[in-house]
Symmetry: C2
Subunit: 365 residues, 2 copies
Amino acid sequence: MATYKLLLLPGDGIGIEVMAEVKRLIAWMNQNGLGTFETEEGLVGGAAYDTEGVAISDATMALAQAADAVIFGAVGGPKWASVPYEARPEAGLLRLRKDLGLYANLRPAICYPALAEASSLKREVVDGLDIMIVRELTGGVYFGEPKTIVDLGNGQKRAIDTQVYDTFEIERIGRVAFELARKRRNKVASMEKRNVMKSGVLWNEVMTALHAREFPDVALEHVLADAGGMQLVRWPKQFDVIVTDNLFGDMLSDVAAMLTGSLGMLPSASLGDVDPSTGTRKSMYEPVHGSAPDIQGKGIANPIAMLASFAMALRYSFGLGREADMVEQAIAATLDKGLRTADITSAGCKVVGTQEMGEAVIAEV
Amino acid sequence: MATYKLLLLPGDGIGIEVMAEVKRLIAWMNQNGLGTFETEEGLVGGAAYDTEGVAISDATMALAQAADAVIFGAVGGPKWASVPYEARPEAGLLRLRKDLGLYANLRPAICYPALAEASSLKREVVDGLDIMIVRELTGGVYFGEPKTIVDLGNGQKRAIDTQVYDTFEIERIGRVAFELARKRRNKVASMEKRNVMKSGVLWNEVMTALHAREFPDVALEHVLADAGGMQLVRWPKQFDVIVTDNLFGDMLSDVAAMLTGSLGMLPSASLGDVDPSTGTRKSMYEPVHGSAPDIQGKGIANPIAMLASFAMALRYSFGLGREADMVEQAIAATLDKGLRTADITSAGCKVVGTQEMGEAVIAEV
Ligand SMILES: CC(C)[C@H](C(=O)O)[C@@H](O)C(=O)O
Ligand SMILES: CC(C)[C@H](C(=O)O)[C@@H](O)C(=O)O
């Protein structure tokens, strides 16, 4: 059995608490011959700043480069509200994405039937929802230059951010989306603002050409990003795969996540290109939720998004699809038994803490 | 009684149909001594392109500059999907906003109790909702330069859009938001992505300083724009006034509009600075909905957003607050009587067309 090297980056806030449950799962899998995982651990975000003065150190980046997959918790919190911009907790996350070339961010928005009641939307609108948002993650306004604030004198400053997309960046994320759609319901909605942005015009043009050339069997529709946000709220089940840029992906995937009522449940995967010589790819897995400073340290955080992120790692990085299924089914079974963390509780359910939930899931695996 | 000059720009699709009801209302007000309005009419969007070869002509722009207010319908449609970028229908709208200096876009998101059932959200989440989104409308990525696509050779292109904000642009939109909040529930939520964008950093800094200097009596909170989108879906009633930039405002106001279940009901106002010598300001009023090419020409479009936009004109441009109230109350009364256009119909209501709805509202005034 192959040995896989994991770098665990718990980060800040509840990131630390939910990562503890992944460690428990890894240890259990190692013991029971379901895999051979070697783990190392590093600091990122506020935790790295406090100890190392940066949001992620070069040494930790080297570990990330050498790992077969990075498992990431969450970063940030009010404690670091006024650290220098370059050292803010999010800078660690952005550097990991950029330096590892993780351009494809997969964010499933799934509504677990057991939790449909927890959504602010009507049950019939979200029950059974299963969307995959494919967000471009290493380009656009997140990384484009110039990105600066200049002093104009007279008490005036000017802030500039730059949205940049090249053809190849749009093509490779489009390919990820079309390929995923083929394994799902064969539909892609590409979202941009071509009526206002030149990057939207190019995005639209490249997706259209790619579709015609390589994926004519997949249904493609173009949706303006603002209308897409509306449609997500109105009738989200019309979508299968949504592909969009970094900033629209940030906005739209958060809206989609909230629709499900299962924010504490949603995993994500960030993938780089497959290296043709090894067949492997750089990858990072993280929950969609943040560091939740308001509940940190209380032992009540929901570890399911983190555990489900690890399941995605099993599937996408190690080809352990069967093991991934086992973890995902264990999560569903635990919910079916009526166990809930505080964020997803409802009448007749048993409220448990982070550790109890983690142990219950492992007991089901 | 003062005479007011209105420029009517119906535009495309249902814009033409709903504008007909505003004309009916204006004629009725003129006849009954509720105002003296002189109207002129012009082309914008696809209609202008078909006749004049541009999305708005210089002659029409001159009329807009000379008018006391512009009443705008909607633009766009598949017919113009492949006109040159500079002549696309939206370019007419963008030129009006920019050249008239309409930097403050007010988008109320109100859930009419009679329509709460039409929302995809649970009744208790949206019933009684009353948010005001204040969107910056003449800056940001909509207008920043460079905005271009360059050919890099080798089949590669590069698209660039530029997000630019100066201190004064953020200050003046902030002032609009804080002043509105004082007449409402005294709360402002400022939304940006300071964790990723330099314009977010400056936005945050300027709002914080403006608040401390001029509006310490108003409650201010800073919300990351992605989290703001989530919170709008989770529990929108937590917000009073939301102030945000052009692109985030586009996304967030569409999500907010859809929450209400009343998209065909929502008006908007776009305002410039008050001219200290005349006490007047440039202004444009338009429904939040678009040109809806799928239902155009059928006589079924909902004219309420357009009529409510005209009510906003009465209030914000002509100081006719009492007359604005009359129109708004007539809309509510018409709904209470059970009249509905097709988009908002529900059991036990009478479905009427555009003209019938317009006439019914006027009968109530
Ligand atoms: C933390 C932040 C930098 C990040 C982003 O904006 O990408 C987050 O919102 C996300 O969606 O992963
Ligand atoms: C039509 C389009 C250019 C416009 C915008 O993006 O501002 C519209 O979506 C709006 O919100 O008024």
